[in-house]
Symmetry: D2
Subunit: 332 residues, 4 copies
Amino acid sequence: MSINSFGHLLRLSTWGESHGPAIGCMIDGCPPGIEIDEAAIQQYLDLRRPGTGKNVSPRQEPDQIKILSGVYEGKTTGTAIGMMIENVDARSKDYPADAPYRPGHADYGYDEKYGFRDPRGGGRASARETAMRVAGGAVARLIIPEVEIEARVLAIGGEQDETKWESLLDSLRTEGDSVGALVECVARGVPAGWGAPVYAKLDAMLASAMMSIPAVKGVEIGEGMAAAALKGSENADPMRAGADAPHFEANHAGGISGGISTGQDIVVRVAFKPTSSIRKPVHSIRKDGSEADVVTKGRHDPCVGIRGAPVTEAMMALVLADQYLLHRAQCG
Amino acid sequence: MSINSFGHLLRLSTWGESHGPAIGCMIDGCPPGIEIDEAAIQQYLDLRRPGTGKNVSPRQEPDQIKILSGVYEGKTTGTAIGMMIENVDARSKDYPADAPYRPGHADYGYDEKYGFRDPRGGGRASARETAMRVAGGAVARLIIPEVEIEARVLAIGGEQDETKWESLLDSLRTEGDSVGALVECVARGVPAGWGAPVYAKLDAMLASAMMSIPAVKGVEIGEGMAAAALKGSENADPMRAGADAPHFEANHAGGISGGISTGQDIVVRVAFKPTSSIRKPVHSIRKDGSEADVVTKGRHDPCVGIRGAPVTEAMMALVLADQYLLHRAQCG
Amino acid sequence: MSINSFGHLLRLSTWGESHGPAIGCMIDGCPPGIEIDEAAIQQYLDLRRPGTGKNVSPRQEPDQIKILSGVYEGKTTGTAIGMMIENVDARSKDYPADAPYRPGHADYGYDEKYGFRDPRGGGRASARETAMRVAGGAVARLIIPEVEIEARVLAIGGEQDETKWESLLDSLRTEGDSVGALVECVARGVPAGWGAPVYAKLDAMLASAMMSIPAVKGVEIGEGMAAAALKGSENADPMRAGADAPHFEANHAGGISGGISTGQDIVVRVAFKPTSSIRKPVHSIRKDGSEADVVTKGRHDPCVGIRGAPVTEAMMALVLADQYLLHRAQCG
Amino acid sequence: MSINSFGHLLRLSTWGESHGPAIGCMIDGCPPGIEIDEAAIQQYLDLRRPGTGKNVSPRQEPDQIKILSGVYEGKTTGTAIGMMIENVDARSKDYPADAPYRPGHADYGYDEKYGFRDPRGGGRASARETAMRVAGGAVARLIIPEVEIEARVLAIGGEQDETKWESLLDSLRTEGDSVGALVECVARGVPAGWGAPVYAKLDAMLASAMMSIPAVKGVEIGEGMAAAALKGSENADPMRAGADAPHFEANHAGGISGGISTGQDIVVRVAFKPTSSIRKPVHSIRKDGSEADVVTKGRHDPCVGIRGAPVTEAMMALVLADQYLLHRAQCG
């Protein structure tokens, strides 16, 4: 029921917990004959990896990907691609079983849903799962090599001036606080015609993809929320004759109209909330109902949005490759 | 492949074009024994219906729903519920086949995808399809009667003062322009525990649901895009002991943490772009590449967000009922 | 959850009961630009239609198909194709609500599942639903015009000599009994390479498709059940060099090896059980547990397999067109 | 698209090739709180394991299962259960890349589909994949502990007398030939009401499940193919009043009527074709079209049906647990 899977024809299924022996995934539906090796995937994992600087979690994880199936003599075979990363630096002792619920995390809802929870680093709800999204996205990119996907942090804590981010993060670290971030992900080279008019709209799939990333609370296409304040005449993307394709005089739509790509850049913006795990005390309760303050001492990113940017790229790649296959299926 | 279907266990499939003989839907997976009749559905359709005032399309459609299957002696049988609305006031002559692409609509992408298009009112891409979402949502509400769902327009064209909307819309109508709207949809009474930690996150499904509504360009949960500018200490939803359930001291999360409901109100905001069909000329091209200005004379809403509000309620109901069934399947 | 849908990329969803106002379907995923009209579908419905002779149910249903969406100027548009047949000759008085369960029908299980049942002709469980499979199959054939699909009755009540069937059925009608039938469905012109190695095996999909037809109790591919008694040397399909494609010296495999088509004829055999509704008394019970003999007086086919043959063709067409689209998606 | 996945709410996804480093699976949708450990799974794998006698492949594989996720302190968490078996005794040198297609295997169709093939033991098409079905089935059994599932070989090469099987297999081994087998799988304790009336029929899912097992060419429910030769009066399952549930005077239907379980034993029979890999020469061709005789020297089971029996149990368990969850979702 897609609890742990994403996509239709190109389907990523992931497993593994933050503090279990390993995390892994399986990619189903990849076309055959695509050249691939572990290095092609590792380069993207290295961008998301923790332990690489003071502004990301100090957890030391080499995140070394192993391809276990679906590749033969350097090419995809068309069958399931199984991949795995062994967890190296899990420290379960940071997470006592009788800990109060961490507000902002899945802890309380998880316990209400399943009757208990895996207290080790959020278990399945940990952002560690996103390493496998990045691995899946790396495969997806190879399916649509003509598409270029790039995400960047637009603002940290509302501050758009990059030169001020370093000191902002330093002071937050000192305070024991965290901060949100705004990330923009752009795909160039998507031809007109991908997507569908109703429930398989390209933007609907992107919205689901992005909102499934931990800590994301808002998704915008093109003008996004700002479109609500515009007039029709201000929001129009006028068309003129072009050489090979129409020339658009604007891209308020973010490259998608009526659920279908227009050939313009696909522009998606995503809001990451601040990391919920902070050293400042937050009111909470335990499973037995008793009250307690939560002060998080585990290793966490002060701004998850920074490491979230490569994850938005991966989700963009997965959606686009899936839509490409869907389009090829129906329209040849 | 979900091109025209939505949902997992409760599944809405819709068919029909704006100017065809009828539109219809099928609802699969509805539990048996639920009391239902056409009036229970009609009340919601009447809220979305066109032709009811000067600020909505003057197209006269009674939108009279007929239940054709799945109901026996006033109760759902557990099998497919087929429903249909006959189109009455379709005026295909408003849509010449050699018309230039209407910027902001699916026209161009549609043509690039399928090789041709149905020029009659946008064909399948018309917002007329949303009548069937409203019908489906009405059924979904009956599955989760303990949940109360309500949407309202928060702002029109950025203006939050309701008393100014009338004159704003009057002047736009005179200008031949249109305007966007911000809609908030809230669900009360959702218990903690609905949703899932990874790809079946409650918020991911809501994002897909809302972004699949025509003209929607942004989706927010709780603080939404604003969360990107907050500190962790500002964004926390502290918990204290409560009577039957925990007492939350805030709801920045919009009722969903880690993809799972917390028992608080589910709060979703949606940005509707301004109607793309305006009487002001917009640059465009024809299929043969020749340039032309588009001046839309068809019957259109100056602000689609107004009639969009009931559609957000319907999609909220469909997602919540689906998640309820998924939760019951896995957790009993 | 596919309760009332079939297929992956080409997806048939059906609704409607035997004695409701209408039955209908929606076909999702059909490629655009395919020439189609109601006559192209009606020809297949006419082969399945009741009331056409003494060996099929005397119910008078013209089974006139109406296309309600998805077709514009005689071609498919790539969006949902909605179709409907109005029920004309429903006689609900044949089915009193306090009737005992009809053994061999869904009645008892249905009541145990849903808590009640629609006693009018089996409701949703009626074979009347198969009219919509035939309509869907007619669309599917147009997607793969190079494939020729033909089903025929091989035996009635174990009797393979066609000349004896008429008198066999006459005597059964006199006795008030019914009889089973063996149907073979062959598809010619399927290229090598459709299907998949594991769960999307072509034969697995065919098995599901055929077993979902009412009254079917067994499905065989190629040698089928007889393969269990053969030696490997007897069951081999040796290959020799051919002109355009390999020449196979036998087709024990029925055109499918390892779940993938070989380019040979696809051969499926299906066993239809005898109609459960007979005039001979059968022990049964009522919902309240009281015992009663069932003597069916409704209008029924003495041998459902006869009218089942066109339904096997339809399911074959739906599976093959779906696999064709899946193959095109993954392998271009 | 289910190429490598099976099931709806309980979903098994498998990866890995016969001669790759490992095979693995992921089980999605398992309810939380079920007691489980590796031993509970290993016991079923040991029944399917090769290298255990002269009538099964001599390949030495300990088939030691490792649970990598989804289980915490001996209980399922409700998230993805990842499992893996390392391949130990792969001998790729048995499979030269320029080998002719092995008739009866996926080789030729695979090459036509994907453009090339993995010659190492059939790659993904190898029956080695079924080890993961057995692991998945072991989990499924724990979800429905009230259901008892048992498969047995009914006949080998058409011979039903068990005492003659040993000498039959000895002589086949000497000849270098193989033989088919008939397997019956029975599930006891399934309550009435699982399944659905149309495309999610319990029997349709069982048919798909069984036909997806390598070498299976026929599937029967209850009377199966023999039902085609019976009269309605002979095939009836008369009902009488019983203590807690109705008493059925027969079970021709194999426990399923109208797609829904009746509370009787679910009875499925499956025909396994003889192993295609034999030492007797079979005509074939190479990829370049040149002719060659195939004489298989790899390690193979003379009768795959023997090791297939536990696989039918696993598929039965997966289907029943999935249907149980579907039933609970819709009907509570």
